[in-house]
């Protein structure tokens, strides 16, 4: 049991991977000399050298594609795209090559690649630097999408992601890097199942990434009102672990999905759809969504806060489901 930050947990995982497997290398903008935009890879260049901790030019399309090629060539690349906002420039390689290659080649060529990127808003970085597009990636067959929301997952998800024979995308919410928590030993290293972060029988709150803590805060407030909320952390955004949240909703008969993405076409819509498809007759009320307002993220703090999901909005949504307003 050690107390470390999410950032340190990610760094430890990277260091372990670099130490244990000579095929592993880290590549991306400013991962080396600069120490990583979020200081995640700080110190790794000094320890592993510029071949294995490789700074790239500003060329998202090419270095992500090069990561795919290196994976095909026998390496186990970890490509950092800095933030999801810039990953739009690399989407063609991720979708049209990485995701399709194995199936399209009749099973001959797999792409054991890990792509890391920061995601999300909350630091007043405004419209172009605050996207949450996890749902886009979670839509694509052929890739796995992970969203570590805890220090333990930040530490534990990389190894199984690297062991996976297919492309895995790791979304690190920018608000979590400074999160500090106890790291259990041994820590779980699972990339298949969702996790129940809090038990409750009255309503199921389903969240992931940066919204998990907001759901937990909402659950605390609801407890004061005598409402026992179960909180589920999706953890794996593709393929979704439907059983875990459907089982919970069957028991609580109510669900609120919390998602930092824009509401329309959000991952929350997919979760909601699956709940309805599989637990319709167990529902006491229509499942609800708490998502971001459908506007580009504004710079001004009060506007950004108003645009994002907040514990109070989650509490209100639950009250609505419980017929308390």
């Amino acid at each position: 049991m050690r107390r470390i930050t999410y950032r340190e947990a990610l760094r430890e995982a990277l260091r372990e991977a670099l130490l244990q497997d000579a095929r592993v290398f880290l590549m991306g903008e400013d991962v080396g000399r600069y120490g990583g935009t979020y200081a995640v890879s700080k110190g790794l260049l000094e320890e592993f050298g510029p071949e294995r901790v490789r700074d790239t030019p500003l060329s998202e399309l090419a270095f992500v594609g090069a990561g795919i090629g290196a994976a095909l060539g026998g390496m186990r690349p970890i490509v950092e795209v800095m933030t999801v906002n810039f990953s739009l420039l690399a989407l063609d390689q991720i979708v049209n090559t990485a995701a399709l290659l194995r199936h399209m080649s009749g099973g001959q060529f797999g792409v054991p690649l890990v792509i890391r990127m920061a995601t999300g808003a909350g630091r007043q970085l405004a419209a172009q630097h605050s996207h949450s597009l996890e749902c886009w990636y979670a839509h694509v067959p052929g890739i796995k999408v992970l969203a570590p929301a805890t220090v333990e997952d930040a530490r534990g998800m990389l190894a199984p992601a690297l062991a996976d024979p297919d492309p895995v995308i790791l979304f690190e919410h920018a608000q979590l890097y400074n999160l500090e928590d106890d790291l259990p030993e041994p820590f779980t290293a699972d990339i298949a199942r969702a996790a129940v972060r809090r038990r409750g029988d009255d309503v199921t709150l389903i969240a992931y990434g940066g919204c998990l803590s907001k759901a937990l805060q909402a659950a605390d407030r609801l407890a004061d009102e005598g409402i026992a909320a179960e909180v589920i952390d999706l953890r794996v955004l593709r393929p979704l672990d439907t059983d875990t949240f459907v089982e919970s909703v069957r028991r609580t008969h109510r669900a609120v999905v919390v998602d930092e993405g824009w509401r329309s076409g959000s991952l929350a819509a997919e979760v909601l759809a699956r709940i309805v498809e599989q637990a319709f007759y167990d529902l006491d009320a229509p499942p609800a969504r708490v998502c971001s307002e459908e506007v580009p993220m504004p710079y001004a703090r009060h506007l950004e806060e108003a645009a994002l999901p907040q514990p109070a909005k989650i509490v209100d949504a639950v009250r609505g489901l419980m017929g308390r307003r």
Partner: protein, 331 residues
């Protein structure tokens, strides 16, 4: 090796010569204050300072006409100011106030102003280049006689957007003035580690584009290069690319620990500082006295004080207006 500090006579009438100095001081003082305000938490988000590079925006924008278009990056406070955006509106924007030039929606990286055809403030590296090509295409098709100045850092040269935009602009002979601010680093990445060809003019020339190189620490060199280039672009000679060799004195952003360069290098470049070397030249030429310099500096600080007061007194956009301006009227 770092070249000798800019020197030599300033070939301008006193009034214009002093205006260049005053403008550099206005940018410098505004940004020094911004950094301070960032420390106090009055300004948030990302803040990219232009300190050390003022000669580039000052000399280059001085070569534009009021009707021309300007496209900049996230390091654009100086460009906005010299384009004519009121310091009050810039400061209010960084405060996130409704009186800001983007109603507080954009912040430091997204300054916009329709009145001065300042198309912003783009936080995607290389994102402004296609836009500039398009603005120029519109001007060509409408025969407006306008040109579009597009500023970007040397780091953007590695992006596909640079390649595709240069080719489009050259192929269609669009009136774009590509202003590359080569400050040697893209965040922590030195140009040697991002470009196989570090001669950026050679790179740009491969598109069949006219190129120029100028000492970005020398406002005179910058202005002369920009003037000639702007003329050739305006005359229909097709796009022009200028590499301004400059240096960033401060960190990339307020989050940058600057592990990638040593203080000595920064200090060496400071000896080439655009403001003190230029004022020294003006003095030796007898165009400027120390008192006059102090006067200009005081005026700049006065303007900054006024801008801060304006921003402080600014109002917040009501939360109910969050979705305002998402769609245009009649949409």
């Amino acid at each position: 090796m770092i070249p000798a500090p800019p020197s030599g006579p300033v070939p301008y009438p006193r009034e214009f010569a002093l205006r260049l100095l005053a403008d550099m001081l206005r940018i410098r003082r505004m940004e020094e204050k911004s950094a301070e305000l960032y420390g106090e938490g009055k300004i948030r988000g990302f803040l990219h300072l232009y300190i050390g590079e003022e000669a580039v925006a000052t000399g280059a924008i001085g070569a534009l006409r009021p009707e021309d278009n300007l496209v900049a990056t996230y390091r654009e406070h100086g460009h906005a100011l010299l384009r004519g955006v009121a310091m009050n509106a810039i400061m209010a924007e960084m405060y996130g106030k409704r009186e800001g030039c983007s109603r507080g929606r954009g912040g430091s990286m997204h300054l916009f102003d329709a009145a001065t055809r300042f198309f912003g403030g783009n936080a995607i590296v290389g994102g402004g280049l296609p836009l500039a090509a398009g603005l120029a295409l519109a001007d060509r098709m409408q025969r407006t006689g306008r040109i579009t100045a597009c500023f970007f850092g040397e780091g953007a040269v590695a992006e596909g957007a640079f390649h595709e935009s240069m080719n489009l602009a050259a192929l269609w002979r669009l009136p774009v003035l590509f202003c590359c601010e080569n400050n040697l680093y893209a965040m922590g990445t030195a140009i040697e580690r991002s470009e196989s060809q570090t001669d950026l003019c050679a790179k740009a020339a491969s598109y069949g584009v006219a190129t120029r190189r100028a000492d970005g620490m020398d406002v005179v060199a910058v202005h002369e290069a920009a003037k000639e280039a702007a003329e050739s672009v305006r005359a229909g000679g097709g796009p022009c690319f200028i590499e301004f060799q400059t240096y960033r004195f401060r960190a990339h952003s307020m989050f940058d620990p600057e592990l990638y360069r040593d203080k000595a290098e920064v200090e060496a470049w400071r000896t080439r500082g655009p403001i003190h070397t230029y004022s020294a030249r003006l003095k030796t030429q007898g165009l400027l006295t120390e008192d006059e310099f102090q006067e200009l500096d005081r005026a700049a600080m006065e303007e900054v004080r006024g801008a801060v007061a304006y921003a402080e007194a600014g109002t917040l956009e009501p939360v109910e207006d969050l979705a305002r301006d998402l769609c245009g009227a009649g949409a």
